[in-house]
């Protein structure tokens, strides 16, 4: 038996493997550690403590799950022209953000393809925080710094300042409320607040996440002692809600069910915004941003391929990079992310296919170990969380 990890391999191993402040805790808990984008991260926790990817995934859909996401990077832009700088380098419209509001956005190359996708938080009148991906930390920071030099605005890489913990799931709000004086019911999805968390004052608490579920991401000081204390207090507070620690394995299956893009898979420096289907986060009514001109031309020319959701109808699991064929066996595209979906109990995938094969109901084949297995284009996201009143 020899294993191939199917999603944690997109970059050649960098010379130094970095560790988060919670590394020792993950190991103590018996987590299986893997290298992901230059970071040693837990992929799943052991079955002996009620974990494993499936249980972790289900906990987030039904209760709560707790993730170390300290590998994510953070860039702060502050100064009189911070808004102008953010507007120039990102595709969404940051001028619409109230103080303490956040938005999904992306940094684009001039050709309209992706440097990275980001969450832009407006922290104060002239202060923004971009939360970026682990694998693109250095590239993103250089990109942001180099492309904002003309603005009166400081750009700071705060990536190493924070331990970032995500508390995700329908019970996340109840769990976190036990540990903070901030009134979390007043914080809407994609808004942030500041409050005391486990005795630490003025902690940033964002109602954001990457699981297609309600939840929070908290940014605490990155020293090991504080990080460990807060992690343990969150876990203990979560017991009554069935909360479990979750690794990157569940993070990936959760985001896939919700069709949330992963850099290097659904989006990259060779895929443009229209192909990725992220139109609603790209504000062409903004007069200027990097990538806008190319996107205007690309839109006029029309796209040839588009991202679709697939569900396997024949036996077999579609995996990242597997080829997609039409019914006659001609190669037409490829899978960007594929996996069993633990909550939906189906084998699902995201794939790039020609527009003419993208209608819901279109039949295609996914090539699994040399054999074409039947799949069908289905509506996305595969999973949408139930709407709560209020």
């Amino acid at each position: 038996m020899s294993s191939v990890e199917t999603t944690a391999h997109e970059k050649p191993a960098p010379p130094v493997i970095r560790k988060t402040a919670l590394n020792a805790i993950h190991r103590q808990m018996g987590a299986k550690m893997v290298e992901f984008n230059g970071w040693e991260m837990p992929v799943e926790y052991p079955a002996s403590i009620g974990c494993g990817i499936i249980n972790e995934h289900l906990a987030v859909r039904t209760g709560a799950g707790i993730f170390d996401v300290s590998h994510m990077g953070d860039i702060r832009l502050a100064g009189p022209q911070a808004l102008a700088a953010v507007q120039h380098i990102s595709m969404n419209d940051a001028s619409k953000l109230a103080i303490h509001q956040a938005q999904y956005s992306a940094l684009l190359y001039p050709q309209g393809t992706f440097v990275d996708d980001v969450i832009v938080h407006r922290l104060a009148e002239d202060e923004y925080l971009l939360v970026i991906n682990a694998g693109t930390r250095e590239k993103d920071f250089s990109w942001v710094r180099d492309n904002t030099r003309q603005f009166d605005c400081d750009v700071e890489n705060l990536s190493d300042d924070f331990t970032q913990i995500a508390i995700q799931g329908p019970k996340a709000v109840n769990l976190l409320q036990k540990l903070t004086d901030a009134d979390l019911n007043q914080v809407k999805f994609y808004w942030v607040t500041r409050g005391t968390l486990c005795g630490l004052k003025n902690i940033l608490l964002g109602r954001t996440g990457y699981t297609a579920e309600d939840g929070f991401e908290v940014y605490i000081p990155s020293d090991e002692e504080t990080s460990a204390r807060i992690w343990n207090e969150i876990l203990a507070a979560g017991k009554e809600f069935g909360a479990v620690p979750c690794g990157l394995g569940a993070r990936n299956t959760l985001r896939l069910e919700g069709k949330l893009p992963l850099y290097g898979h659904e989006i990259s420096d060779t895929i443009n915004v229209w192909e990725a289907g992220l139109d609603r986060f790209c504000k062409m009514e903004k007069p200027e941003f990097i990538g806008r001109d190319a996107l205007e031309k690309a839109k006029a020319a029309g796209i040839k391929r588009t991202l679709v959701g697939l569900e396997m109808v024949e036996r077999g699991i579609a995996r990242d990079d597997y080829k997609v064929q039409d019914e006659s066996g001609r190669e037409i595209g490829y899978v960007t992310s594929g996996s069993p979906a633990p909550f939906l109990k189906k084998n699902i995938a995201l794939a790039y296919v020609p527009v003419e094969h993208s209608a819901v109901g279109s039949k295609v084949k996914v090539v699994i170990r040399g054999q074409g297995a039947g799949a069908v284009v289905v509506p996305t996201p595969f999973y949408r969380r139930p709407k709560k009143s209020g």
């Binding site: 038996m1 294993s3 191939v4 299986k32 799943e44 079955a47 990817i53 699991i317 069993p340």
Partner: protein, 129 residues
């Protein structure tokens, strides 16, 4: 978990339990722990030929795809159909969940495989278990 002494093991983490010239094949507890939640087992049909050391099937967890390597050569005489619908049984009872039964071409091939004690030592070195 103690590894049963009534069978032999491979460095690729399969076990083989022989009874005369027939044998059952499965994967070890170490293998199921490394893979995590198993969601898919694919093995050849009755009548297929297995060649020692060559791949004969696939086991998939949520995250990983793994080849199965034949511990010994032989002809498939039976396939554990339960695992097509309930692959998680391999996690729950790895040493009781045989995947295929074969008629051994050369029962002597098993002499070259690891004993339970040697296998336990091998995985202790490999994975710190």
């Amino acid at each position: 978990m103690a590894y049963p002494t009534d069978r032999k093991y491979t460095k690729e983490h399969e076990w083989i339990q022989a009874n005369g010239s027939s044998a059952s094949i499965g994967i070890t507890d170490y293998a199921q722990q490394s893979l995590g939640d198993i969601v898919f087992v694919e093995v050849p049909k009755v009548g297929a030929e297995l060649a020692a050391g060559k791949t004969f099937g696939t086991v998939e967890s949520v995250k990983a795809v793994s080849d199965l390597f034949a511990p010994a050569s032989g002809t498939v005489t039976d396939v554990n159909g339960d695992l097509a619908t309930a692959p998680e049984k391999v996690n729950k009872d790895p040493h009781g969940s045989w995947m295929v039964k074969i008629t051994l071409t050369n029962p002597g091939e098993l002499d070259g495989l690891l004993s339970a004690a040697d296998y336990e030592k091998f995985v202790a070195e490999e994975g710190g278990h």
